[in-house]
């Protein structure tokens, strides 16, 4: 848990948050748009229903007016006085003859000006096209002096002598009340468009007239009824029944999205903050229960590496796993230290043993006893025997030394034993006889030097010495599976179990030459605990010493 890792973690969290929010925003935007479209569509339907009803009511008014005008019994002045007062949205009612000349005009705004230079309320050309009637685009009424209200004109055929058309100038006040307060979203609105692309009524008509605002009429005119999303603007369009007017709803995707975006951004930042705080707490805890103990642990290990022997280990705390690790390490430390102690002891033992083997090579007692014998033989003139003795002694010493090698061929070891027995048989005046049974193919394997001699020595001193009859020593070497088995058998006095125990476990007290224990120790140190010496002995029957060792061809395998 270092700073780089932390930064990586933070950026990952932020990356995930951002990508999730982008994905979310996309689907959110789509759902918002479809939602807004539905809303818009619904609002437009309501508006178009209302406007339809209004137009229907005007149609009914128109029928009433036509009927009244066609009825000669009705006093027109009185009728219109009432009608115009109860319908303030009707600015003027005028009638026209077949050639489009104004015949009558009824209005609360006063009398028609004379001369009437211009009449925007009636267009003969249009009437030729729309024989059933027509609703005009918005215009000002030009019939009166000093009054120019904006109206739309609804024209219908009239069946009266001299009056072919009736035109109603209707102000937009009623329509405006249906449309002005319609809101779609925050800034959305709706307006009325006719099929020629004229805006019939717009809540911000004056802004449009003042060039401060414009609608994309061309685009809207090309759209069919329904909802369309065009560059962040949602247009909902519905054509009014039986009319060429269309209700257009305009709402803005941007405002919906940006508002929600801010909201979402705030939520994301809040969540990110929360995550960071949680991360802070977690990293604090982690560092307390994991990182710090592990760091201490690592430091301890380093110390252990540098000073293995004198290291004392203090277990660390933390989470269970760390504790287990720590305890295991504690055990390991202990075991390693024990092992090191053992190895040290073994090394020391080996050195001692080897030193003793070295000492044995020049056992002075044996040497001067032998020299004594040689001297004595020389006095007696036993020239040939002296030569044999001296040769045997030379061989013995040569093999004992063996250029300092510990492992020597069995052939040499046998020679060594033979030389020794030769010398001893002179000394003991042929009190015993000896015999070698050696398998030829064992001769080239290696064995520890001075393995047989101490055992033969033991057989002579403890077995044969003092026997009245001739003693006999048999030395056998044979191969048995992967091992070499050497046996030294005698027919001497035999040993008690206590004697065997003593021989196997105690160094020789006279400190001259090598003991059986030394041989056994060397075998075990060199080849392992399964090898070594076993002694079978019965009193007055004899002793059998068995030496077990592996077949060794290369000294290098063991001498390291």
């Amino acid at each position: 848990m270092n700073t780089v890792l932390l930064l990586a973690l933070i950026s990952t969290v932020i990356l995930v948050l951002v990508s999730v929010s982008v994905l979310f925003m996309r689907s959110y935007k789509n759902s918002l748009i479809s939602n807004a479209s539905t809303n818009s569509q619904r609002t437009i339907s309501q508006v178009s229903n209302t406007v339809n009803e209004y137009l229907d009511s005007i149609d009914i008014d128109m029928e009433t007016l036509c009927a009244s005008l066609e009825d000669p019994s009705i006093d027109r002045e009185e009728f219109f006085n009432v009608f115009l007062n109860i319908r303030p949205d009707v600015v003027a009612v005028s009638t026209y003859d077949a050639s489009g000349n104004l015949v009558n005009c009824y209005s609360l705004l006063g009398d028609v000006r004379v001369p009437l230079d211009e009449n925007t309320s009636f267009d003969s050309a249009k009437m030729d096209m729309y024989t059933d009637g027509y609703i005009s685009a918005p215009h000002v009424v030009s019939l009166f002096e000093g009054e120019y209200p904006w109206v739309i004109t609804m024209t219908s055929p009239l069946n009266v002598e001299g009056e072919c058309w009736i035109a109603l100038d209707i102000s937009c006040t009623n329509i405006s009340s249906y449309i002005n307060d319609v809101g779609i979203g925050q800034r959305g609105y709706c307006f009325l468009l006719d099929s020629d692309g004229n805006i019939v009524y717009h809540p911000q008509q004056q802004l449009i007239y003042s060039d401060l605002k414009s609608e994309n009429i061309e685009l809207i005119a090309s759209l069919h009824d329904g909802t369309h999303v065009e560059e962040n603007v949602i247009y909902s369009i519905e054509t009014l029944n039986g009319s060429h007017w269309r209700v257009v709803g305009v709402s803005f995707v941007q405002e919906l999205i940006t508002d929600s975006l801010w909201e979402l951004g705030r939520i994301i930042i809040f969540v990110g903050l929360l995550i960071l705080i949680v991360m802070a707490v977690i990293s604090f805890i982690l560092s307390k229960v994991v990182s710090r103990p592990i760091r201490t642990f690592a430091e301890e290990m380093e110390q252990f590496e540098q000073n293995t022997a004198d290291f004392t280990y203090e277990p660390v705390g933390g989470v269970r796993e760390v504790r287990i690790l720590s305890e295991s390490f504690g055990h390991m430390v202990k075991k390693l230290q024990d092992l090191m102690g053992t190895i040290k002891d073994e090394q020391q033992n080996l050195r001692k043993t080897e030193l003793r083997a070295l000492q044995a090579q020049i056992n002075p007692h044996f040497l001067y006893n032998t020299l004594d014998s040689i001297s004595w033989m020389t006095e007696r003139g036993k020239k040939d025997e002296v030569v044999e003795m001296v040769n045997a002694l030379a061989t013995l010493f040569r093999i004992s030394i063996s250029k300092g090698h510990e492992l020597i061929p069995i052939r040499n070891e046998i020679q060594h034993a033979e030389s020794y027995l030769q010398i001893q048989s002179y000394r003991y005046k042929n009190q015993f006889s000896y015999e070698f049974n050696v398998e030829e193919d064992c001769l080239d394997y290696l064995c520890n030097k001075i393995t047989l001699q101490p055992i033969i020595e033991n057989a002579i001193y403890h077995g044969i010495n003092g026997l009245v009859d001739g003693g006999r020593i048999t030395i056998t070497v044979k191969s048995q599976d992967d091992n070499i088995v050497m046996t030294v058998e005698d027919n001497g006095n035999g040993m008690t179990d206590e004697q065997i125990e003593t021989i196997m476990n105690k160094d020789r007290s006279d400190k001259t030459g090598i003991g059986i224990k030394n041989v056994n120790d060397r075998l075990k140190i060199y080849f392992g605990n399964e090898y070594g010496i076993t002694i079978h002995s019965e009193l007055d029957e004899g002793t059998k010493v068995i030496i077990l060792m592996p077949k060794v061809k290369e000294a290098s395998e063991y001498e390291k």
Partner: protein
């Protein structure tokens, strides 16, 4: 050590996020207080401008105080109003100067007090104005000139009825007008009076001009009230056959005179847009936007003649909706 560093990084990140959170949370709920000081009240021009300002006021959610002196001579009243607006804690003043020079000190003082200044229609001699919105008056003057010259007559003698010498837009209009007239060889004379911006004063001005220069056959009234007064005077004297009137703005009386053949052309400004844009730009400036105060934000100008007066475009320019 290290865990402290980690903790530090986390805390810093957290505090950055926290501050951005609180930044997001802050929303400006208070309304801007904007004053609209016109040159006068009661003319159709200013009523239309007020209507535009009111429309924008709703849209931008602004507290709007509309005021102005009774006549277009009282620049000292305007100065008092500016002071009052500053005392009232106005955030911005939408201002149309009666006097280019005499209103300057008050506007400078207001600007120094931190009030944003939006000039509409008529300029003031201050470089502390934030935005200027209105008719390109020199261009409008040229349009007037072209309307004057729109005749088959071989000789044209022009009488100009202009308002106070100190008012900037009147001078600019006259400048544009003279530029066009002086370039035409048919123009035999250009005579001018400066009068108070009322129909009555304009009538007297017309009489003075005609007394001195009976050969005048075109009279130009350079604002709404002067146009009304000039047309009235010509109509009263039954001179409509011999004298054409070219006027400014869209007073309904002038429209009637046009239908009766007294007024031959009207230069229709867009006061509604001036009012609307005045408030809109006040809002923008208060939001921190910056504009080049040397460049006028031009509101459209339309020339209306007897022939085109009932075209859809002219209707929209002449008659306000609803």
């Amino acid at each position: 050590m290290r865990s402290k560093k980690i903790l530090g990084v986390l805390l810093i990140t957290a505090s950055i996020l926290l501050s951005s959170c609180s930044y997001l949370g802050v929303q400006n709920e208070s309304k801007y207080n904007v004053w609209f000081i016109a040159k006068s009240q009661g003319s159709e021009f200013w009523n239309s401008a007020f209507a535009g300002a009111n429309a924008a006021k709703t849209e931008y959610n602004i507290d709007l105080h509309i005021t102005g002196p009774e006549t277009e001579e009282q620049y000292d009243r305007q100065n008092n109003m500016i002071d009052q607006a500053v005392r009232d804690g106005a955030d911005a003043i939408i201002f149309s100067a009666i006097s280019y020079s005499e209103n300057a000190a008050a506007i400078d003082a207001a600007a120094d007090a931190g009030v944003k200044i939006i000039v509409i229609d008529s300029d003031v001699d201050s470089d502390k104005v934030d935005v200027r919105i209105g008719t390109d008056n020199v261009q409008a003057g040229r349009m007037t000139g072209n309307a004057v010259l729109d005749t088959d007559d071989d000789e044209i003698c022009v009488g100009i009825v202009n308002f106070a010498l100190g008012t900037r837009n009147g001078q600019e209009r006259e400048e544009g007008l003279r530029e066009v007239l002086e370039a035409d060889p048919r123009v035999t004379g250009i005579y001018k009076v400066n009068v108070e911006a009322t129909p009555e004063a304009a009538g007297i001005g017309v009489q003075l001009l005609l007394n001195d220069h009976p050969e005048i056959d075109v009279l130009v009234g350079l604002n709404e009230m002067l146009a009304v007064g000039t047309a009235r005077a010509v109509d009263n004297m039954n001179l409509s056959d011999s004298i054409r009137v070219v006027g400014f703005d869209t007073n309904v009386e002038c429209v009637e005179f046009m239908r009766h053949g007294v007024v031959s052309a009207l230069i229709a400004q867009n006061p509604y847009a001036m009012g609307y844009l005045g408030v809109e730009y006040a809002w923008k400036v208060l939001q921190g936007e910056h504009f080049d105060n040397d460049v006028w934000i031009d509101t459209s100008t339309t020339i209306i003649t007897r022939k085109n007066m009932f075209s859809q475009e002219s209707q929209q320019a002449l008659f306000s909706f609803g």
